[in-house]
């Protein structure tokens, strides 16, 4: 049962082959059994089983939707009423959210069952899940390696079959990179497709929530629930939501795949490159055509991102001041001392680094040279994609330049860490939808992700193109050793 996809479980639940309570219990048992992975920050069996019970009642009454009774692990960045919501930080280590994020609200309304809150890099700042106050998460494919980040807990949970699916958020690759490193299907929707209300902000103009699952079909089922305009989020877009499951099987004959030459140059491990090439060859067999495209400004994506994202973060994280909620330092002499100690003790090193970078980039005298310049670069990067999409339908390339790296390997070298998002970051800057799907394994035995980038609001096509690939390959069905 634990190896079934969401789509399969949905059928099993309706056929009463299993109850939601049984299913939830089975996964809770596995979460407990594999708690060394450190995939979850909070598990609350009582709450989970109560939800499952309600779901069973709905199933019995014939009032079930596709996700009714399906356990979903929620990234701890989403506020969930009554749940500890830490965002991986000490500063929120005592924060029980008094309200539901729109995403949580929608999953609840769909009858899904919250399995728990997954570990993550602190405030989603990281690519390895090592910046979490709650400690690193281990990659089930090799527990000495990282699962990627920042949605590392969600990735490890789904890869290790501790949950059928999970939510993630992606500011610079935080869904796609961990999906690639743990052999999952992860989708970062177009900016504005999924409400950010209740999703604790890292960089508001880049953050986007999305599904992490084992198949494109499952990702589509989750996106059906998550997508849509939200009047509480002024940056969400009033655009009708298609049924993402409807076009999964559409023929992709004649599909034009753009390969950006910049994504296949130095920096890409040869191993990963080979896997990606094999995947492209598979697409050709499915009738797709390959065209070379160019994203000439992609080398600017990382510097641009590491100005804009910290700038926004430095402001977004100001509310964590110890005044109204969250952690407050024990001893302080006055207000300023309270602020300084609370934030010095409450935030980890990477978060502080980014707050400082961001505050610097916005400060008087430097604003034009950094923030404004980065905004200009952002437009150039978006233009590149626009041009590229005039000659192709989907852009493909590696998700991450390497497979999963060892825990601790890059934690002292922030720049090396930042480079692991080199292929994903520009997608956020352009606001486009991006996916990572399992494409094979490198010589080290670790999974490699194929990245697919679509036109604005073209999630349906990405899911369709992914699904067709998954019909003819079985990479996504591989299970990490020891988690059968």
């Amino acid at each position: 049962m634990i190896h079934k996809t969401v789509a399969e479980l949905s059928v099993a639940l309706r056929q009463k082959a299993i109850s939601s309570v049984e299913l939830a219990q089975a996964f809770l048992d596995r979460i407990n059994k594999y708690k060394d992975l450190n995939a979850f920050i909070t598990v609350d069996a009582e709450k989970t089983l109560a939800q499952a019970k309600t779901a069973d009642a709905c199933l019995a009454a014939g009032k079930a939707g596709p996700l009714t009774g399906i356990p979903i692990a929620q990234k701890d960045i989403f506020c969930a009423d009554g749940w500890l919501t830490t965002c991986g930080s000490k500063i929120l280590s005592n924060f029980v959210a008094p309200y539901d994020a729109t995403t949580i609200e929608k999953f609840n309304a769909a009858g899904a069952v919250c399995l728990g809150k997954t570990n993550m890099d602190e405030f989603a700042m990281g690519s390895s899940n090592e910046t979490s106050f709650y400690g690193p998460v281990k990659n089930p494919w090799d527990t000495s390696t990282v699962p990627g980040g920042s949605s590392g807990g969600s990735a490890a949970a789904v890869a290790a079959r501790l949950s059928p699916a999970a939510t993630g958020t992606d500011t610079g690759g935080s869904i796609r990179q961990p999906a690639a490193l743990t052999n999952l299907t992860g989708l970062k929707p177009s900016y504005g497709r999924v409400s950010r209300y209740g999703m604790i902000a890292f960089a508001s103009s880049l953050d986007q929530g999305g599904p992490m699952a084992r198949t494109a079909e499952d990702a589509a089922m989750l996106l059906n629930v998550m997508a849509g305009f939200d009047p509480r989020d002024s940056t969400s877009v009033e655009e009708p939501v298609p049924d993402y499951n409807k076009d999964l099987n559409r023929d992709i004959k004649g599909l034009r795949i753009g390969l950006p030459k910049e994504y296949f140059s130095a920096g890409l491990s040869k191993d990963v490159g080979n896997v990606i090439e094999a995947a492209i060859a598979e697409y050709k067999k499915l009738g797709a055509r390959v065209v070379e495209v160019s994203l000439p400004n992609s080398n600017l994506a990382i510097p641009c991102y590491y100005v804009l994202a910290p700038a926004e973060a430095s402001s977004n994280l100001s509310r964590f001041d110890g005044v109204r909620y969250g952690y407050r330092a024990k001893d302080y002499t006055d207000l300023l001392d309270m602020y300084c100690k609370t934030r010095a003790e409450g935030f980890g090193a990477e978060v502080k680094r980014r707050i400082m970078i961001g505050a610097y980039a916005l400060s008087a005298g430097y604003y034009d040279a950094y923030y404004l310049k980065a905004q200009q670069l952002r437009r150039l990067i978006a233009e590149d994609f626009k041009k590229a999409f005039s000659s192709c339908d989907v852009i493909m390339g590696p998700t991450s330049p390497t497979t999963a790296f060892k825990i601790g390997a890059k934690s002292d070298d922030p720049v090396a860490m930042y480079l692991s998002d080199i292929y994903t970051i520009s997608v956020n800057l352009a606001g486009l939808p991006g996916m990572s799907i399992p494409a094979g394994f490198a010589a080290d035995g670790l999974p490699v992700g194929l990245q697919l980038i679509g036109r604005y609001f073209d999630e349906s096509r990405l899911l369709n193109v992914s699904h067709r690939y998954q019909q003819v390959t079985d990479w996504h069905k591989r299970i990490p050793k020891g988690f059968n």
Binding site: C79, S204, T235, L317, D321, A364
Partner: protein, 477 residues
């Protein structure tokens, strides 16, 4: 040396929207602390702002009223600083692109008109309040006010005296209330003012170093604070000192200004466009629509009153001081069909005095438009004299009914029956033979004495014109 004062004002007008600028919480004043602060106002993790378009409508209204151009696209920015009453750690405000661009206001000081430039007006949110009492050495925070929409109206440094500054402030105060975008309550802080004050040698073109005065929240304090600050700056310069750019707080108890923070200590607010809010777009159609809802503005109303009702500038000014008073007056003229000048005297005289005495607003005046109109009609048709009318007014004020009720109940109807007046005159003449003799001997000043006596005898009810005529006849025969 002769010095010239240069003043620019920044006014924060709290907009009269029902809900806050970026959340659905109510804006009502005076609620229990933190009962009008929702998840967005207290900046819980994950919450997002959604702009209240009503605030834009009000800003556009002001913009049109001061002849300003409206920016079709304006941008919300974040002003970053830490303070316990600022829950997000930043204030949402408009920085580089405000909704209202250059406009102007015409002021009048001692009969001299002057145009004051308005640099800009932008939308922003208010902060909460720190409460320092009742917490035993600790500070309480009330976030009810956090997120209330403000319109900050910034003037050019065009004023040259404290008097001009007050005139500008009063003009703006009158305008925002006319437009019904701000209640103008300075005590509750819905209309607040900071003043940038500097001095320079007369004839000098370059501006002097300015001080920003805060905490001057009444017209009187604005005048006093500016005067005292100008004095301080001149003293400083004349004794060889230098004015430093700083923020100063006005202490109304001691009538001094005190340094709050210098330019060096000024914060770097790290403004940048708020990524949670798309640019605010107001279409030409929206602006045009708002234009159709604009009421007649104070200046236009004043001129119309002078022309249509033949009023002098002073009376027209008083009557148009608020929209409510002007409306009251016009309704009285319409209903009573009385001489507009007489109606004006009653509204600016008796009515204004009583409102003032009892500290009442025109909206809750015990003497309604209908009652005032009735009174003026009885005056016009000679049922009562002007003197009696005052008695009737006071009775109406204290709730004795309308003019006819009071006149009937108190028997105040004017005596117009010639026979009755004749009879009263005869009695008075009979009782005062000595005075009659003196009068007839040429002491004509005694005429007033006889009028007074007859009035006394008729409890003031004799029609004055008739009385005069009849008395003259009787005394001379």
């Amino acid at each position: 040396m002769e010095w010239e004062t240069v003043i620019g004002l920044e006014v924060h007008a709290q907009l009269l929207t029902k809900s806050k600028a970026f959340s659905g919480a109510a804006t009502k004043y005076g609620a229990e602390p933190n009962t009008q602060a929702c998840a967005v106002d207290i900046a819980l993790p994950g919450v997002l702002p959604v702009f209240n378009k009503e605030a834009a409508r009000m800003a556009v209204k002001l913009g049109l009223a001061i002849g300003a151009s409206i920016n079709h696209r304006s941008v919300f920015a974040r002003k970053n600083y830490f303070y316990p009453d600022l829950p997000k750690g930043y204030q949402i405000s408009q920085y580089e692109l405000p909704i209202v661009a250059k406009g102007q206001l015409t002021i009048d000081v001692d009969g001299v008109e002057k145009v004051i430039g308005v640099t800009r007006a932008h939308l922003e949110e208010d902060a909460g309040k720190s409460l320092h009492e009742d917490f035993h050495g600790k500070t309480g925070i009330d976030l009810n006010r956090a997120g209330t929409p403000l319109l900050e109206i910034v003037s050019e440094p065009d004023m040259r005296s404290a008097k001009e500054a007050v005139a500008y402030l009063k003009k703006l105060h009158e305008l925002v209330r006319y437009l019904e975008i701000c209640d103008g309550n300075m005590q509750e802080g819905s209309f607040r003012c900071d003043a940038n004050v500097s001095v320079r040698p007369k004839g000098e073109k370059k501006l002097g170093t300015r001080a920003e005065l805060k905490n001057i929240n009444s017209f009187r304090f604005v005048e006093k604070a500016i005067e005292i600050e100008v004095e301080r700056q001149i003293d400083l310069l004349e004794s060889g000192g230098k004015v430093v750019q700083e923020t100063r707080l006005y202490d109304s108890d001691k009538n001094v200004t005190r340094s709050m923070r210098s330019k060096e200590e000024a914060m770097d607010y790290r403004y940048f466009p708020d990524p949670d809010l798309p640019p605010l777009v107001v279409t030409e159609e929206f602006i045009r629509h708002v234009g159709t809802t604009l009421p007649e503005l104070p200046d236009a109303k004043r001129l119309r009153f002078m022309k249509n009702y033949s009023l002098n500038a002073y009376d027209a000014g008083v009557l148009t001081g608020s929209r409510e008073l002007a409306d009251y007056y016009e309704q009285v003229v319409r209903e009573s069909k009385a001489d507009p000048k007489i109606a004006a005297n009653w509204v600016t005289g008796e009515l204004a005095a009583f409102l003032n005495r009892d500290n009442k607003d025109i909206a809750v005046s015990p003497v309604t438009v209908a009652m005032m109109s009735g009174l003026l009609q009885r005056l016009a048709d000679n049922t009562i004299s002007g003197k009696i009318a005052k008695e009737v007014f006071e009775a109406m004020w204290s709730g004795e009914g309308d003019a006819d009720d009071v006149i009937a109940k108190r028997g105040l109807k004017q005596i117009t029956d010639t026979g009755a007046i004749d009879k009263a005159i005869d009695e008075v003449i009979a009782k005062n033979p000595k005075q009659l003799e003196q009068y007839r001997a040429g002491k004509e000043a005694l005429f007033g004495f006889f009028v007074g006596q007859v009035m006394k005898a008729t409890q003031g009810k004799a029609n004055p014109a008739q009385l005069n005529e009849l008395l003259k006849k009787k005394l001379s025969t």
